[in-house]
Assembly symmetry: C2
Homo-oligomer: 283 residues x 2
Amino acid sequence: MEVIRLPSKMQSWALDQRAHGFTLAVVPTMGYLHEGHRSLMRIARRRAGRVIVTIFVNPTQFGPNEDFERYPRDWERDRAICEAEGVDVVFAPDVGDMYAPDHSVWVEETRLSRGLCGAYRPGHFRGVATVVLKLFHLTQPHVAVFGEKDAQQLRIIRRMVRDLNLPIEIVPGPTVREPDGLAMSSRNAYLSPDERRQAAGLWKALQAVQARFAQGERRAAALIETVRMELARTAPSAVPQYIELVDDETLEPIEQIRDRPALLALAVFLGTTRLIDHIVLSP
Amino acid sequence: MEVIRLPSKMQSWALDQRAHGFTLAVVPTMGYLHEGHRSLMRIARRRAGRVIVTIFVNPTQFGPNEDFERYPRDWERDRAICEAEGVDVVFAPDVGDMYAPDHSVWVEETRLSRGLCGAYRPGHFRGVATVVLKLFHLTQPHVAVFGEKDAQQLRIIRRMVRDLNLPIEIVPGPTVREPDGLAMSSRNAYLSPDERRQAAGLWKALQAVQARFAQGERRAAALIETVRMELARTAPSAVPQYIELVDDETLEPIEQIRDRPALLALAVFLGTTRLIDHIVLSP
C-alpha cells in the first residue's frame, strides 16, 4: 500500500493508472475509520482494480463553532485498516497543500443544500462539494463510494456529478450500525457512556416510524411526532435540531407521503455531540 | 470532422481517445467564429493530437437584460471554419441537454470576479466558470485554449483550474485585431458603420496608455485619464462602463504601478454594443 501526501503526486499516479487501463475507485473519508468505512472500501474493492482511500479532515466544511480542531484523528490505526482492506493508495494531504492561501473557487449546490443539515450548518455543503470535486480531480476515479448515512451529502454529490457532467459512478454504501442500532460515525467517540446508551434511541425512533408507516401512516406531522415521542422515551437527554420529512429526491418538505419515496431525517444533540440519522420511506 | 450534439457522446468519445493515448485540446467558444477563434484552433492543433471546438451560447452567463437571444449565430459558417482548421470534433450541444430543468450546482469564483466586468454583470462569471467546468468534464482535455482578450475570464479560469485541481493546462491565445486595432469579437457584428469606425478608438486609447507608461507614468489616475481623453477624441459616442487599473494577478484596484504587472482594462458602450479591451503594463 502506498501513502501519498502531495496532491500533484496523487493526480499523476491516478492518471498513470488510468492510462494503463485500470479502473479506479475512491472512498473519500475524514479518517478515524470504522466498520462503516471498511464496508465502503470492500464495495470499492469489488468495483475497481485500484482502490484509493482519501483521509482529509476538510476545514472548509466545518463552521467556526464546529469541531474541526477536536475531530478525532488516528493516523496509525487508519493506515492499518486501509492496509488490511487491501487498499492500494491512501491519499492524506496536508491542508496547506489542498487550499492555497488565496483559494477562491467554490462549488455551490443551491437547492438540495437549503434544508435539513444545510439550514443549520451554513457553508457546510459548499465545503463538502468543493473538497469532493477537488478529490475527484486528484484521484480521477471511475467509481466513488459514499456512505448512505450522510443522506443529504450523498444526494448533493449525486447532483453535482450530474450537473457538472462528471464521468463518475456514485455508489452508495449502506449504513453500518452498532448492535444496538446506532449508526457508525467517527463522532460517536465524543459520547459519554450515558450519552452512548441514549444514542441508540435515534434508531429506535426511526424504527418506530417505519412501523407506523408500514401500518399506513402517511402524514408528516404524525410520523414526526412518533420520532419525538420515542426519542423522549429512549433518549431523554437528546435535543433535536431538526426532525423532518422531505421528498427523497428534491429534499423539499412534504406534508404527506404520496407516490414518491420520502426521507425522514433528523439531527439531535446529545450533550455537545451532534448525531444524524434517517430512514427512507418508500410507498 | 465529426459533429457531436449529445454530452454523453462527447464524453465517451473523449474518454476513448484518452484511453488510446491521444492528447486532447479543447477550444471553448460561443460560435460566430472569427480570426481570433481560428488562431486559438491553430494553437490547439500544435499542442494536441485531437482538437475539439465547443460551440455553445451559454444562457447562464448572460444577464436578464443582456444579448443572449440576439447573440449572433451562423452554424454553417462555423462548421466550415472548424473543418478548414483541421478540427477533429465540433461539440455543439443543445441548451436542454446541458442544463437539467432542476440544475442546481454552480462554480463560484469569489475574488477575481468581484471587480471589472464582474461588478457590472452579476452572475456572469458564475455562468462562465460553471459551463467551462462542464465542458472540461465532457471533453476531458489535456490542454484548453482561451483568448487573452477576455482578460478577467482567463484569470478566473486559471484560478478555477488551480483551486479545483484540474489536470488541464490553460494556454492563452493572443488577441487578434482588425487592421485598425479593434479586438476581434463576435459582438463587433452589432456595430453600425459609424460605431465600427469609433470602436478603433479603444485600442488607440490603450496604445496611448502604453506610451505614457513607457515614458514613466505609473499613477492609476493619470493612466486612466489618458484613456478618457483619447476615447473622447477618437470615439466621442463611446460611453465607458469602467476604466480601471488593477493588479494583474489579484485584480484588486491599484493606485500606482510598482513592482508587479498591472492590467488596464475597460468596457465601453457604443450604442447598445458593449466592447471590452485591455493592456498589461509590466514594470
